[in-house]
């Protein structure tokens, strides 16, 4: 009865099927086949990535919990910071609003499942160019979806990034990071404890949402095909908010042994993973599962990905107390199973056993592959025509008035970025900074990705991305505690793509080992392809840092007329993969800048020292765009002009728009010296931007004129 076609529909290879038969000692029934199919899918099992991810460093002095739980945990000033990034790329392409909204919902649950109250969201978004109306529609939907979910739940979206590359037209990236705070002794894990405990289901009833596409054509469900087509998940932020409050209250009263949200593969993955981790089995009573639709089959109940659901293992005898807390918050909860001592995953429906599988084979021992790969060729071009001099004032305005650099306020003003009143630095520049109530310290958060680097050189791109994230943190005086990451790639069965992946992980590993910062978790998103065309390899790094004392925090309001502008670091002949090339030469490749990690580390150390000594009014790193665009943005937030005098032996473009890493600007009323190159390049003055290059005035313009295009770019596109 299980034939080739059925296996194909379930995305299982012949080999995997043989393995399943070995495990069971018989043929699986259709329900079991479905369970294996989903649990052994790339998404749930990380079968292509696991052996590579294992190379990443996962130890660090601040680490409490590394990869393997719903989210990572680090220490910060006596508290625990719980954080994780997740992708929701494909769903956001199919239905931008709901795809992005449910992405937010999922990552929030990952964090509050661990016992932490979510305090911040950040989003890394990559779309196709906005010259195409279809891409505008996707962006509009995604941004309002994030707002439409995060805002009601009451978690501020405090930072993020948006950028554009052609390849994302058919495959946008929506990576969302959530950060939560809790006490160090109040962390919850996905554990099932001992045999004989109750499994409690809480939250939304189960519908046919998001059931694995593979099931659709399957013969047994023919009569129901009408419903099957509708598997877009719709988010209910109101229910999520109640689920969050109720779950945190249950945790506060210490009523559960373990907990896991029902994400991908819903009830099946949450129950089997908890059981497998604790060396117990699990028995599920499917008739007790609350259902939203009629006629749902065991297959559907077990694999539904309906949102806003939690599964927890109750402490003995606490079932009633748990229920009354969920009742108070208007959330349905029911006992749907129990832990057993036989290490099996068993589902019972209408008095019959519909699935009976060794639980480890679903959760722990899924297949893993060392897929063949080829190391991709690097783009190392540096063309003479890129270096010609131009009217730099015009160039600056063009770059600022482009989708790559224009003000993102149209995006972040749709997000409630202030609720919970911890947001010390508003979005607009650099990392997000949150205070920790009751302390003088704060945390700094950033999320960074640069697909243009990945396309030219995935390994170096990964190193640069990690370095950039930490440099962002350094500008507010924060040292990194840990990172989370999301790896977005095409089809790993293609050796070129697998090669990009291997190189990216290699780069991340190299950088993290160098900095001594651990990965605490992350997410891999493969198969980001449409019609055989893959996205550029894109690693998204989410980093968390600690600021011991917020009173010395640099902020735009601290900058005074007459403050000096210092350039720290090393400017080299780096223009490949830059915003300048994209906007001015319509060129998306070129050599990715080299980075010297020793230099980078000294630079960051020196910035942190200067900030902590209270010498810095404001600081920012030179990220994509280069000196002039980045400085202009800073001046816009400061609301004052500046005069710059720079001297260089390099071609002018490198200084003004080149993207050498390991550089930052510090604005300060003091004389600054440091163990890295420091150049006094100008002064805060008046309301114009005046730039002298090698003694020649190349630009003089009122800041407001420069600002206009930058400030209104997205409004002009989107506000009808």
């Amino acid at each position: 009865m299980i034939d080739k076609k059925l296996l194909e529909e379930h995305n299982l290879s012949e080999e995997e099927y043989t393995k399943i038969k070995d495990i069971l000692g018989r043929e699986p029934n259709l329900v079991e086949l479905g369970l294996f199919s989903v649990m052994w899918s790339e998404h749930c099992s990380y079968k292509s990535s696991r052996i590579h991810l294992a190379k990443l460093p996962t130890k660090g002095k601040y680490l409490i919990q590394g990869p393997g739980e719903n989210a990572g945990v680090v220490k910060a000033d006596g508290k625990a910071v719980v954080f994780k990034v997740e992708s929701h790329n494909h769903p956001s392409f199919v239905e931008p609003y709901q795809g992005a909204a449910t992405g937010v919902g999922g990552i929030l649950r990952d964090v509050f499942t661990m016992g932490a109250r979510p305090v911040a969201l950040l989003d890394s978004l990559h779309f196709g160019p906005l010259s195409k109306p279809a891409n505008r529609a996707i962006m509009e939907g995604v941004v309002s979806g994030i707002a439409g979910y995060g805002n009601p739940v009451g978690v501020p979206t405090v930072g993020g990034e948006v950028d554009f590359e052609e390849e994302f037209s058919h495959n946008p990236l929506v990576n969302v990071m959530c950060v939560g705070l809790t006490e160090r002794d109040r962390i919850f894990y996905a554990r099932a404890g001992e045999p004989g405990l109750s499994l409690i289901y809480a939250g939304a009833p189960t519908g046919r949402d998001g059931i694995h596409g593979a099931t659709m054509a399957s013969a047994e469900f023919g009569a129901e095909t009408e419903h099957k087509k509708v598997n877009v998940q719709v988010g209910d932020p109101f229910r999520e908010k109640l689920l969050l409050e109720a779950t945190l209250e249950v945790m506060e009263k210490d009523l559960i042994v373990g907990i896991q949200d029902m994400g991908a593969a819903g009830l099946t993955s949450s129950s089997s993973e908890m059981a497998s981790k604790s060396g117990v089995g699990v028995e599920l009573y499917l008739d007790n599962v609350p259902l939203r639709e009629e006629g749902m089959t065991p297959y559907e109940i077990l694999l539904s990905e309906s949102q806003e659901r939690m599964l927890m293992v109750a402490k003995k005898g606490k079932e009633g107390e748990i229920k009354s807390i969920f009742d108070k918050w208007g959330i349905d909860s029911r006992v749907v199973g129990k832990t057993t001592d036989d290490k099996r995953f068993r589902a019972i429906w209408k008095g019959k056993i519909v699935a009976d599988i060794p639980v480890d084979s679903l959760a722990g021992d899924s297949p893993r592959y060392n897929r063949p790969y080829v190391i991709p060729e690097k783009d190392e071009r540096l063309e003479d025509k890129w270096l010609e001099n131009r009217d730099w004032g015009q160039v600056l305005k063009k770059i600022l008035n482009s989708e790559h650099m224009a003000s993102r306020h149209w995006v972040y003003e749709q997000y409630d970025h202030m609720v919970q009143i911890n947001t010390v630095l508003l979005p607009g520049l650099g990392p997000a900074v949150l205070r920790i109530k009751g302390k003088t310290s704060g945390i700094a958060l950033t999320i960074d990705a640069n697909p243009a680097w990945g396309r030219s050189d995935p390994k170096k791109g990964a190193i640069l991305t990690v370095a950039e994230a930490f440099r962002n943190l350094a500008t507010v005086g924060a040292e990194p505690l840990g990172i989370t990451n999301c790896l977005n790639f095409g089809n790993p069965e293609k050796p070129e793509i697998m090669g990009q992946f291997v190189e990216t992980v290699e780069g991340m590993k190299e950088a993290l080992e160098f900095f001594g910062v651990p990965v605490t978790g992350g997410n891999v998103s493969f198969y980001n392809e449409t019609e055989g065309k893959a996205i550029p390899p894109t690693v998204t790094i989410g980093a968390v840092g600690l600021i011991p004392d917020l009173s010395v925090l640099p902020r735009p309001e601290k900058v005074k007329e007459g403050d000096w502008i210092y350039l720290l670091g090393w400017t080299k002949r780096d223009i490949g993969s830059s915003v300048y090339l994209k906007v001015i030469h319509n060129e998306r490749g070129g050599k990715v800048p080299d980075i010297n990690l020793e230099n980078e580390k000294s630079l960051q150390g020196e910035i942190i020292r200067l900030v902590r000594e209270g010498k810095v009014s404001f600081a920012f790193d030179l990220s994509p765009g280069g000196l002039l665009p980045n400085l202009s943005e800073a001046l816009f937030s400061i609301g004052k002009g500046a005069t710059l005098r720079v001297e260089t032996d390099l071609e002018e473009v490198f200084y003004l728009f080149g993207e050498s890493p390991s550089r930052a600007i510090i604005i300060s009323p003091y004389r600054i010296s440091a163990k890295v190159p420091v150049l006094k390049i100008g002064q805060i003055r008046g309301d114009e931007l005046i730039v002298y290059l090698n003694g020649k005035k190349i630009l003089q313009e009122p800041l407001n004129t420069i600002k206009k295009g930058w400030a209104t770019y997205f409004n002009r596109l989107f506000d009808r």
Partner: protein, 227 residues
């Protein structure tokens, strides 16, 4: 009476999300007494000022504030208001007061149809209310907004009446949402129920950007202490 702390009640509806912020500011910054009031409660537990904080009660499904107005606690709030008790509705709290008929008018979707979160400038139009005692008429305040349904609407008659009795307490300097007469906050005719869309609790500590909102809580406390 002297320096006794004033007791603020912060109402929590399902979906309210600024309750903890408001509580924090009253207790830690204004240094008054704060307690939560659950939407199913039927009395106000001795609260001297009742605050309906911001958020998305019932997800803002149906209309913002529309379902919350049926909560059991509304009866107690109504009686409290009828007896002259001070009631402050912030953002979603304002919307609930409108839906409940404790304040006139209604909220439409923002003119641009989008959620807007940003600091805005307001002017204080009337400094003779219990909530604005410590402000000066004409003073400019910097307080954030965060809403999608903040486009205040009322019939011309109601608007005229509001203007006549100086019932518009705060106006936007640059109208962000299309509100009639740039209305950001209004008070009832008896002068004890104030609703406003901006969030004073988000502007009560310098570290998070402004302290212009704090005096709203301090005014209410002073008023209660002195009456």
């Amino acid at each position: 009476m002297g320096n006794r702390k004033v007791k603020f009640g912060v109402v929590v509806y399902p979906g309210t999300n600024c309750d903890r912020d408001t509580y924090h500011v009253i207790k830690e910054v204004a240094e008054e007494e704060a307690q939560y009031l659950w939407y199913k409660d039927t009395d106000l537990k001795g609260s001297q000022v009742v605050i309906l904080p911001g958020g998305f009660s019932y997800g803002d499904y149906l209309r913002s504030g529309a379902i919350a107005r049926f909560s059991p606690i509304m009866k107690a709030i109504r009686e409290f208001a009828e007896n002259g008790g001070l009631v402050l509705g912030i953002c979603n709290g304002f919307q609930i007061l409108l839906e409940a008929g404790l304040l006139p008018g209604a909220m439409l979707r923002n003119r641009g149809l989008r959620f807007i979160c940003r600091f805005v400038d307001l002017t204080v139009e009337n400094d003779e209310t219990p909530f604005t005692l410590l402000y000066k008429r004409g003073e400019k305040l910097r307080i954030p907004i965060a809403h999608i349904d903040g486009n205040y609407f009322a019939t011309p008659e109601v608007m005229a009446e509001l203007e006549k009795r100086k019932g518009i307490i705060f106006r936007y300097v640059n109208n962000p949402n299309g509100s009639l007469h740039d209305t950001a906050g209004i008070i009832n005719s008896r002068g004890n129920v104030l609703g406003l869309m901006p969030h004073p609790e988000r502007a009560s500590e310098a570290l998070v950007g402004s302290t212009d909102g704090l005096r709203m809580f301090l005014s209410a406390a002073k008023f209660v202490r002195e009456s």
